[in-house]
Amino acid sequence: MANAPQGRGGAPQQPPVDPKYNWPSTPKTVVGTRVKRLDGPDKVSGRAKYTFDVTRPGMLYARVVRSPYPHARVVSVDLSPAERVPGFKTALIHRDLKDPKTAVVMYQGDEVAAVVADTEEHAIDAARAVKVEYEPMPAVISVDSALAGRAPEVFPPGNVRPGQTAQNGDLDAGFKAAAFTLEQTYSTHVITHVCMESHGTVCEWDGDKLTAWVSTQGVNSARDNLASGLNIPQANVRVICQYMGGGFGSKLQLGPEGLICARLAKQAGAPVKLMLDRKEEHLVTGNRPSAAAKIKAGVSADGLITAFDAESWGTGGAGAGAGFPLPYIYQMPNRRRAHKDVFINTGNQRPMRAPGHPQGSFITEIMMDELADLVKMDPVEFRIKNLQPDAPNAMHLSYLREGAEAFGWSKRHATGDTTPGSIKTGMGCAICTWGGGGRGPSLAHCEVASDGSVVMRLGSQDIGTGQRTLVAMVTADALGLQPSQVTPEIGDTQYGVSGGSGGSTTAASTSPGIRIAALKALEALKEKVAPALGTTADTLVASGGRIHVKDTPSKGLSWADACKHIGPQPITTEADWQPGMTSATTSGAQFAEAKVDIKTGIVHVTRVLAIQDCGLVLNQLTAESQCYGGVIGSLNFALFEDRILDRRTGQMVNPNMEWYLLAGMSDVPQIEIRLKNMPERGVVGIGEPPTVPTAAAVALAVRNAIGVSVRSLPLTPAKILQTLQSNQQKA
């Protein structure tokens, strides 16, 4: 086969700068095992303090006054009625109304003013009392009308911004070589992050120094945002985030509410808490942009895609782009893709778990099955035939084969379940890729004291991935200890510089520094212990909670006794990320089985199989949890979530959690995770890739069941019935 080389993903990385710090090749004691979260007991008992839970002496509560209009000029703001509300403390107007630019709000929820009161209830009262006079302006509400040129001009030089056109090969020749061509339009919708803990901050000033508890994916970037936004030195800002309730990309940067909170706290002369409510979350804290593509594709009689011509667009809101990869993964030598960003008057997008990939995956994979049907090929075989032969770490070929076997793909029927009755069953599959990988700076500080205590300190944060546990695991692994013997200290800018938790990079960026700092501390400890053991440091190893002569465990000391030789000054070491212990790019393949009731249009996903790699698996238990979470997140994208705008007012009609639908436990299928460990590649990252292909696999299972493509998400019952009906009419 032409693409036989596919699957060489396990190629070893370049060695680390100093190979003695590399990951051990011998059997693992801690790294790679299943370690329960160290902070699990704190989380299940309610002891874990999230930003939402922080209470400071004399703390006041803030509330933001926001525009109800998608586009309007703020004529005036009268704070005086708010001042008469019981408990009122202070208020600010967020925009300069004399400046014609800043006086204009660009979307529903755009910040106008903010108030502070003694209780949250009073703050809500005061915010309601603020009198704002708006002059509503024409708004762009629908992407279609913007594309058709029927929308008012709101975003000069145009509501539609053409992006780059990418072209490869010879499109005309490609279409000439095609035995079949297909022309279709595919699209995905806008969804929002819906972090369970809203965005928010508690700010407390001590003179010109600010301490901010922020629900953030990056304590250091939050500090930078606060310092630059408030025009104060970074050294004057301390950001703390011990626990945070989900970010999914929306908490990588501090939003305007963070600066508003800091300013209000200064003005009030007291600590201020500002947590957004659910409606604000939907409106202003980011979203996954929509994506659409009108595609013409050609396929040869033997199943090679010969040509791919796509015109794509999407909206990321009032000025933000909506890029996504297209075509996704598969080899299409003759291709053209022209993209346009469409601006509408809604809150701006922010990165959301694998930005762009779920959209590119859905659009490409639905087309793949339609092409496979044209040439009457099995979808797995068709995919394998069109894989790129030499993509880096492309394991898709072997994962598709393994998955098909394990999932019972041979039992899959051709498109359209012909069994009688209204319940139709089908299967689908899709693949994914994601970069991940590590980078510096990510400084880890290790401290070993004479009482045997070990602290590993770094300015990273745990956004729910299990990072706190990883810090302890990697340290313990290097020192021959158990994770419970290590105190991981993260979530505070006082612990130094480390990156934000985004792009599936946290584990890969932080673990090399942690390991090296721990190993350096061990080297120092060995030097101190060696004389007592009548040997030299180079003969000593650390394992099983002891420091002993290699191959002679009896000739040694327990960790506690060894540390007694440290003396009054603890051993302190520091190390940064270094290349060679991490690499980039993951592969995955997923299979889904769904039942569809063609009388009601209701889809129930019954089974999902996810095969996924992430380089060296650090914690098998939490890495699997990431995969479960990714699959379920993508299921939500496929079936339930939808940001619905009123087409006249431009207001979101479901800014809550009862009409903005999310899966409950009954909606969750049986999920099997097959995590591939590739220690030779070093650490890569796992947060994002497993959330990419599920939506497409589910949509294809639905297609396989009902015999018709639903070419847009979400797969609501109404849409499925509509698709079935229009197909019947055509027939």
Partner: protein
């Protein structure tokens, strides 16, 4: 018009006396006999004293009658274990057990809970020992960011206390009122199933519950969700 604590009818004794009266109104009223032809007398909007029984302890608070049980405990008693996700009784992060029943504490007024036994996640572990449900969540990694977890834990405790032999379908149904955005459902299910005598029993093994898509109840549920 705000009422002060020292105004007639707001002594703790007379307040407690009215608790347990048949109507909800009586529960929030200081002077139950004062109900006239115009309907029940209005309490608030200012702060009034209330007494709650939380995790076996008596808790006296001065709150406005509009304050929810969740906000009263979180913001006035620093019992921050239970969370607020949606504030509209949809996500379940606020789930508490009141008189043996799970409630959405974000959609329950604190003043209505006087005289009732309120249990929050903060009081679930006893003497430093985790409740078996909490332990199972830790063991199965049934949590990620952990923000929805207290609600899931309380919903699971409520479910298993009512039905220690919950079947897989009953577990799923029983926890359908809780939302997790990280996607821990599979492992929450495992954790709860491990504690139920019939939790790991497969639904096909002679269970009375029919196939999901053929059950009318499930279809109704699907329509509601869809």
């Amino acid at each position: 018009m705000p009422r002060r604590k020292d105004e007639p009818g707001f002594s703790r004794r007379s307040f407690l006396k009215t608790v347990g009266a048949s109507s909800v109104a009586a529960g929030v009223l200081a002077k139950a006999p004062a109900v006239d032809a115009q309907g029940p007398a209005v309490v608030g909007p200012g702060a009034v004293p209330i007494t709650l029984n939380v995790n076996g302890k008596s808790l006296r608070l001065q709150i406005e009658p509009r304050v929810t049980l969740l906000d009263a405990l979180r913001m006035r008693a620093d019992l921050t274990g239970n969370k607020r996700g949606c504030d509209r009784g949809a996500c379940g992060a606020c789930t508490m057990i009141v008189d043996g029943r799970t409630v959405y504490a974000c959609s329950t007024l604190a003043i209505e809970c006087q005289g009732k036994k309120i249990r929050t996640v903060d009081g679930l572990a006893t003497g430093g020992k985790l409740h078996p449900v909490q332990q199972a969540f830790c063991d199965k990694d049934a949590l990620m960011c952990g923000f929805c977890t207290p609600g899931f834990v309380m919903a699971s405790v409520g479910l298993l206390e009512k039905n220690p032999n919950a079947t897989p379908e009953q577990i799923k149904k029983g926890l359908d009122g809780n939302i997790c955005r990280c996607g821990t459902f599979s492992r929450v299910f495992e954790a709860v199933a491990s504690l139920s005598a019939r939790g790991t029993q497969s639904a096909s093994k002679g269970d009375e519950l029919p196939d999901m898509l053929e059950s009318n109840a499930q279809m109704d549920e699907g329509v509601r969700r869809g």
